[in-house]
Symmetry: C2
Subunit: 543 residues, 2 copies
Amino acid sequence: MSKAEVSMSHLIRVFTKPEQLNSKLAQIEQHISDNLADFLSQHVVAKKTSLEEIEKDFASAAIPEIPEFVSTHAETLLEKLVAHSVNTYSPRFIGHMTSALPYFHLPLAKLMVGLNQNLVKIETSKAFTPLERQVLGIMHKLVYGQDETFYEQYLHSAKHSLGAFCSGGTVANMTALWVARNNLLGPRPGFSGVARAGLAAAYRHYDIDGVGVLSSRRGHYSLGKAMDLLGMGRDEMVTIDCPSQTLSPEKALIAGREYAAQGKKLLAIVGIAGTTETGHVDPLDELADVANELGCWFHVDAAWGGATLFSERYRHKLKGIERADSITMDAHKQMYVPMGAGMALFKDPKDSNAVRHHAQYILREGSKDLGSTTLEGSRNGMAMLVYASLHILGRQGYELLINQSIEKARRYAEMIEEDPFFELITQPTLSILTYRVVPPGVHDLLANASQQTQQRIYDLLNQLVVSVQKRQREAGKSFVSRTRLSTQTYSDKTITVFRVVLANPLTSDEDLRAILQEQATIAQETQAWQELQGLLLPHVKVS
Amino acid sequence: MSKAEVSMSHLIRVFTKPEQLNSKLAQIEQHISDNLADFLSQHVVAKKTSLEEIEKDFASAAIPEIPEFVSTHAETLLEKLVAHSVNTYSPRFIGHMTSALPYFHLPLAKLMVGLNQNLVKIETSKAFTPLERQVLGIMHKLVYGQDETFYEQYLHSAKHSLGAFCSGGTVANMTALWVARNNLLGPRPGFSGVARAGLAAAYRHYDIDGVGVLSSRRGHYSLGKAMDLLGMGRDEMVTIDCPSQTLSPEKALIAGREYAAQGKKLLAIVGIAGTTETGHVDPLDELADVANELGCWFHVDAAWGGATLFSERYRHKLKGIERADSITMDAHKQMYVPMGAGMALFKDPKDSNAVRHHAQYILREGSKDLGSTTLEGSRNGMAMLVYASLHILGRQGYELLINQSIEKARRYAEMIEEDPFFELITQPTLSILTYRVVPPGVHDLLANASQQTQQRIYDLLNQLVVSVQKRQREAGKSFVSRTRLSTQTYSDKTITVFRVVLANPLTSDEDLRAILQEQATIAQETQAWQELQGLLLPHVKVS
C-alpha cells in the first residue's frame, strides 16, 4: 500500500467491510469452515525443522510503517505462521493436553470477538456476567453437589462468589492460594490483615516464621511460581517424593507436623487430580483427613483431571475432591474448550471475600461485577464457550468422551506391554501414560552388568528417548512429549520417558499402533541404539 | 436429543462436521460475516433492563444432562445472551475502552481457535513463539527505540526477554511489580533472594520494614491488588492526591523521602500514561528523575495511552516513557485488538530473569519457551492478532486512528463547553474526558447559597449524573460511564461525572451531539433536576 492510500476512509473500510468473497482471508476462512482437518494438513507443512530457521521469519523489531492489504498479510500468515504451527487437531498429536475441538467453537469464537465483551464488570458484559456465574455454579455443583437452596442463595449474590474464571490453571492455582493465604492471615482485632498490612507484618502478628504449601514432587510448576509471587518463597514448598507417583498421606502428615514444629504454619496441602506428567490422582479423601488433622487448607489441582467428574463410571477415582476448600479446573483441557478457560472454585462462597477489592469507576461496593474477586482485570467472554460446551455435549457427552480416553489409554498400555521394543513405565490412572523404548535383551544385560555398564545403559536409554521424541516430532506426522521421572522400579534413578495424553477422540487404535511403529523404526536409526547393540553383542556371543 | 442418540459417533460428528449451510449457527455466522453492525443491532435488543431479570435466564446450577443440538443451543445463545449483551461496536457506546474492531479479527479469531496453540512452550506453539517474541520486540522498539544490534542480540535470546504477553493490563502491572520486587530483594551472598526465601526473610535480610509503591490517586486499582497479591500489602501504596489529575513530581519526591525515612524502601514509582478515569498523562520525564533520585524502579502504566506512541503528532505527550524500567500496554485498548492482549515490556532484557522458572517436562533450562518468565502458564495465540494489526494497520494507520480520537475528544469538549446544560470537568489530554450536567442558573445559585444549600446542590448534581447515566444506559441507544473525582475547581469535594472514551473510529460528531441531546432530555425528567429547579425558583423570583 502506498502512503497516499493510507486515509481515514481506508481505515473505516478495514473496520466495517467484511472480506470480499474471494479474498485470501475469506478463502482461508472458508477452508477452515469446510474442513478444518484438511486445512491444517494442507497448510501445516512444518518444512523448517529448526527453531532458528523459523526465527528468521520473525527476526526484525522494526515497526511496520505502511499498512498492508489484508489479503497480502493473510498470505504471510499462511506461509510464516500456519505452516510452522503445531497440528493440535491431528489424531497423532498425543503429546500434550491440547487436542481437536468440537467444531462449533469456530463460529462461536467469531461470535465472541464480534461481541467483544469485557467480563470485568457488568456494564461491559451484561448477560455474560450472570452466564459466567452460572457456569461457575454448574462446575461447583459438579464437584460439591450442594442442593438447590444453596445455589439459589449464592449463585448471583453480590457478596459471594463460587469461583473465579481465569486464563488457565496457573492463575487458578495462584488465585486459590491467594485466597487461602488471605484467609489464614486475615484481619483480627489489632491487625488489619495480610491484604492490607503485608506478609512480614502478618508473620510478626501471628508469630510465625514461614508459611508453606505441601504437595508431591508431581505438583505443577505453577505452585512454586505462586509461592514466589505471593511472597511466601519457593523454599517453603514442602515437596514430598513420590516414587509411586501419588502423595502418601502418611508422609504428608509427618512432613506437615515437622513443618509446624519449626515454628512455621502450613497454609495448604495440594492434592493433584491428574498430575501433568503421569496423570495420577492423589488419595484425595485421605489427604482431606490429613489437612483436617493439620488444620490447613486443602486445595485440589484438578486442572486436567477434574472433568472425570462428568463420568459416572470413573468419578470415583476423584473421591474426596468434594472435601477440598478450593479446586482448579481447566475447561481447555478435558472439556474441549479452546485455550484460555481456567477456573478456581471455592467450597465456601464467602472465602473469596478475602481478596475482594473495589474501585471508584467500576467494581463499586455491592456490585455483582465479577472483577471484584478475580486476579485478572479485563477478560474476554470465554465463559460462553464453556457454557455452550456444557449444553451441547451435556454430562452424558462428556462421560462418553472421558470414558473413551481412559479406555483407549488402557489399550495403548496393553500394546506397549505386548511389544518387545517398549517398556511401560506408568500405567494410566486416567488417560496419561509414560513408557520408553528398550531394545530387546537390554533388561537382561542390565541385570548382569557391572555398575559402570549399568550406568552407561541408563544414560543410553535416556538418550534414546530424547532422540526418538525429537526426530518423531521433526518428522511431523506424530507427536509425543517426554519428561523425566523417578519410579518405584527404578527408585534410585531419574529416567527419561515418553509421555502420552490420550485426549483426542479422533485418535484410533490404528493411530496408536502407527505411532509405536514409527518410534521403533526411528529408534533403530539412532546412535544410542547402535551403542546399546554394541554392548549386547559380546553378551550374545557368550550364550 | 434423546438419550439413545448420545453415541460416540454423534460426538465425533460434533468434533468433525461443520455446521450445515442452513443451520442456525451457520446463519448466525453468515450474518456476522456479512454485516456485524446489522447483526448486533438486530440481536442486541436489551429489552430486559434489570440485571435481576437477566439472571433468571441463568439461575440454575443444574448440570445439563442430555446433549443439545448445536442449532437449538444457538437459538438459546441469541435469546438469552446476545440479546442482553453490550453493543461495543456501536458508535454511541463511548463509555469504556472497548470499541468496534477491524473486521479482519473475526476470521483471524476463527483461525486462532482452529490452530488452538498453547504459547507456554514451543512444542505446542512452534512459530507462534518467535512471532510473540517479535511482537514484544516491535512494541519494545516503539517505546525504547534501541538499535538493530540490540534486537539482534535479545529478540530471540533464551536468556533474555523483552517483555511478557498476558491477558491484560492488570496481569501486566502485576508482572512488572513482581519483576521489580524480585530484582530489589534479589539474591546476594548469604541470602537466596525473595523468590526463594520469601518476603519476610527478605525484609529481615535487607533490614527494611516495608516495601512500597507510589502513584497518584488516579492509579489503576490493579496496583493495590498487586500489592496484596505480592505480599507487600495494600497499605504500602503511597497514594498522592492529584487535584490536577497528574502526579506532581515535587510531591512524589517528598513522599518518597518521607517513606524512606520510616525505614521502608520504595520499590517503584508508577507513572500513568493515560489514567483510566480522565486520560491524563503524568509528567513521565520528571518522574523518571524522581525515581532516579530516590533510587527506585520506574514503571509506566500505559495500558490505555501507550498506543499514542504510534502518532508522530502526539507521541511527545508521553515524553520520558523511554526512561521507564517497565511498561504496561494493552493491545485490546487503543490498538483495536480483541479482549485479552496485554503486555509488560522491560527496558533491560535481563530483568525478567528475576522471575524465571523451570520444570522437568517443559520450560527446560536454556529453552526459549515463553512460559519461563510469564505469570500465566498456558496461553492462547492472541499475539497473532496483534501481529496482524501491526501489519495491516501499520504505524501510519495507527497514527491516523490515534489522531482522530484525540481530535474528536477536543471537539466533544468544545460542544460541552458551548452547551449551557453541561460543565466540562476535565479537558481531554488524549481522548478521555469527563463532564456533568448542570441546569442553567445552578452555578450562580451555588455562588450565593448558604453552606447547607451548597451541600444540597452538590448532592443533587451528583444524583443527577447517576440517574442520567443509568437511564441512558437502560434506554440502550447510547452508553457513557461515570466515575467520582476531585478536581482543582472543586478541590474539597468528590464529584460524580460522566466519563467518555472516544476510541471508536465510527463515532461521528453527529453521534456526539445526539448523546448530549439525549442526556439533556433525560436529565429534565429526573427528580434531582426537579428539585434543583425548586431551589432555583425563589432565586429567580428575587431577581
